[in-house]
Symmetry: C2
Subunit: 373 residues, 2 copies
């Protein structure tokens, strides 16, 4: 589709591209997972095949062109999912989900809104952060530095895990209450890390869960490491990166507490939202003025630095990343695989995805996540 | 030790044997897991070797005899744990932990008392049941019969799991609050069943958790099956059996809502507690008057039937089973590996364990679990 749109754009005067639809809308037929008929049906993988049948393609010119386009441009997202394919890896950021300044406090409105929005999503995997759950304990006992830290104890490790599990149970319960077949898959003790990167993943079990039409929910966790320090923190961002590498979803969505990546702290005057950041196959930034992964500015934009570093690693794999504000209408669009007007997109430079446009044109308020200029 | 005691008994007039100590008391030295100095130190595996050094054995006659006894009678429990050996598999029964007649209601007193009692325990693995959590949902959606049931849906499956996870989080949080380094290990999706028996276990991860001195907490769960019905219930009792088979603990403790197995419903007049049930290597009952695993009476004694069937399977492995009432002083003794005066013991018939005594001599009240006649 995009290749066709770009070809058309070259023939006619350039127009601002419409928000592209990455994924088909979910089927509207009722299914056995559908608990509340007044709400949209919950997520499940569509049974349709990867490419439309060539016979139908030859009968309809647009379908034929789309089919040819998909054969020639594998980078363009196909409009249907292969059986067992994951459409979305969604990171529910700890700062979006909880009040990070208050001990074990959930932002109930964001959680419940996101749960309802996820009903219109298709074949997602959810990872949530810890926010104000676990972070206090992890800091007190030096869990991130493991047994090497003088403050460390295994009791502190279990306190950290117990706290994160409390949030995890609430997240899964909220999703289930919204009619989603969510099941929790805590990474501990099956996942392991080495130098903060996943060294042992358990993706086969996750695929088995997905194959049943269930909605797997993972979380950033305290895990064992393959190093001498024995244990450490597996961040939700790194978990997203590892899952994106293993599952190759169509899109990765980071729901943050801010509307995206800004060129300066979003509460500063004239802060501008960066619309698109392009990276090459090595993860180097090739487009995105005044943005770098080691920019200090990102440390004060709601903890976006780690998110941005993980997002860059995901984008270089060829999986586009959309960073937007959780609980907003923009998040609702992103969770349906559509690119909202207010977000930051990270894409690989050789991908035929939003060409043209001024990526610094939109200034957003932090609180609402909507365009103000 | 018991072989020696039996030899002495043959030389002198028979005396009622004292309550045998199966396990050494935990070390009293403070360790890094010890949060509250006024309470006994929490569980951790002792570092001592299996047998005392032969040099020391030859210097001290009693030690020498014990060493010889341990060499000759492998059935006699050694007094020290091998590194990584599991001392206890503890089943916290759903009826002991929750009010089964009331939706998602925890017996807070039993939970907190058990958490404090577990601090004096040594190298345990805990399995808890679901009680009034999960059972209602599992029944509503026919989860136990799987996808073959007309009521079944995967949303019901996730509702069942979400409910059990809420109990699990509360149990782990209570144990951690009592100063125990507890970590939750839900069986789903890693464990699988076939015909209600474990067909795939994940014991390696559990051993890794134990090796760090952590306290693993598992629970009865809704899991995938290897059969056509796709999913089913892995009961906490079957989980105990599988763990006992894999880990070969010194003792398995079932904490129930009643004092043990009775010859009739425990609230009936003249109900007598059966002290010892002996089974052979095939799991057939060889001692225990009026007791059979298919007796209807056990279905009305607080759901003891499934517990008893699992306990028989564990006892035939050579692991003695102690069934007693949770939250009582008897449970406290059992959790230290000592046999309380009010309980039901299941042992294999070729084991040199409690000889003599009238196993139907003690009648117990249901509520207190203490001897009344």
């Amino acid at each position: 589709m995009w290749a066709l749109a770009l070809t058309a754009a070259r023939l006619s005067p350039p127009l601002p591209p419409p928000p592209p639809t990455l994924l088909p809308l979910p089927p509207t037929t009722p299914n056995h997972l559908h608990a509340h008929p007044t709400l949209p049906p919950p997520c499940r993988p569509p049974p349709s095949p990867c490419l439309r049948p060539p016979l139908l393609a030859f009968l309809h010119p647009i379908t034929f062109l789309r089919w040819i386009s998909q054969l020639l441009h594998r980078r363009v997202w196909p409009t249907t999912l292969r059986p067992g394919e994951v459409a979305l890896v969604i990171k529910l950021g700890g700062s979006a989900l909880t009040d990070k300044t208050s001990f074990e406090t959930v932002k109930e409105r964001v959680l419940q809104t996101t749960a309802l929005q996820l009903r219109a999503s298709t074949a997602p995997v959810i990872v949530h952060g810890a926010g104000s759950f676990g972070h206090f304990q992890a800091h007190e006992f030096g869990v991130a530095r493991g047994a090497a830290d003088p403050r460390f104890s295994w009791l502190g490790f279990s306190q950290t895990r117990a706290s994160v599990s409390r949030l995890h149970t609430r997240v899964v319960s909220s999703l289930v209450a919204a009619g989603l077949p969510a099941v929790g898959l805590p990474p501990f003790p099956h996942w392991r890390t080495r130098e903060k990167r996943v060294s042992r993943a358990r993706v086969a079990e996750l695929r088995a869960v997905l194959a049943k039409g269930l909605l797997p929910v993972l979380h950033g966790d305290a895990v064992f490491t393959d190093e001498g320090r024995e244990c450490g923190i597996l961040s939700g961002d790194e978990l997203c990166r590892a899952l994106s590498e293993a599952l190759r979803p169509r899109l990765c969505v980071f729901l943050a507490s801010v509307a995206g990546v800004f060129d300066r702290p979003p509460e500063a005057p004239h802060a501008k939202l960066i619309r698109v950041i392009r990276v090459d196959r090595r993860g180097r930034l090739v487009e995105g003025p005044k943005v770098s992964t080691d920019s200090v500015a990102h440390d004060v934009t709601g903890g976006l630095r780690a998110k941005l570093e993980a997002a860059v690693q995901i984008a270089r794999l060829g999986v586009p990343v959309c960073i937007c504000e959780g609980g907003t209408g923009h998040a609702a669009m992103a969770l349906q695989g559509r690119i909202p007007s207010v977000c930051t997109m990270l894409v690989r430079s050789d991908h035929s995805f939003p060409e043209g446009g001024d990526y610094l044109a939109t200034s957003c308020s932090k609180s609402t996540g909507t365009s103000v200029s």
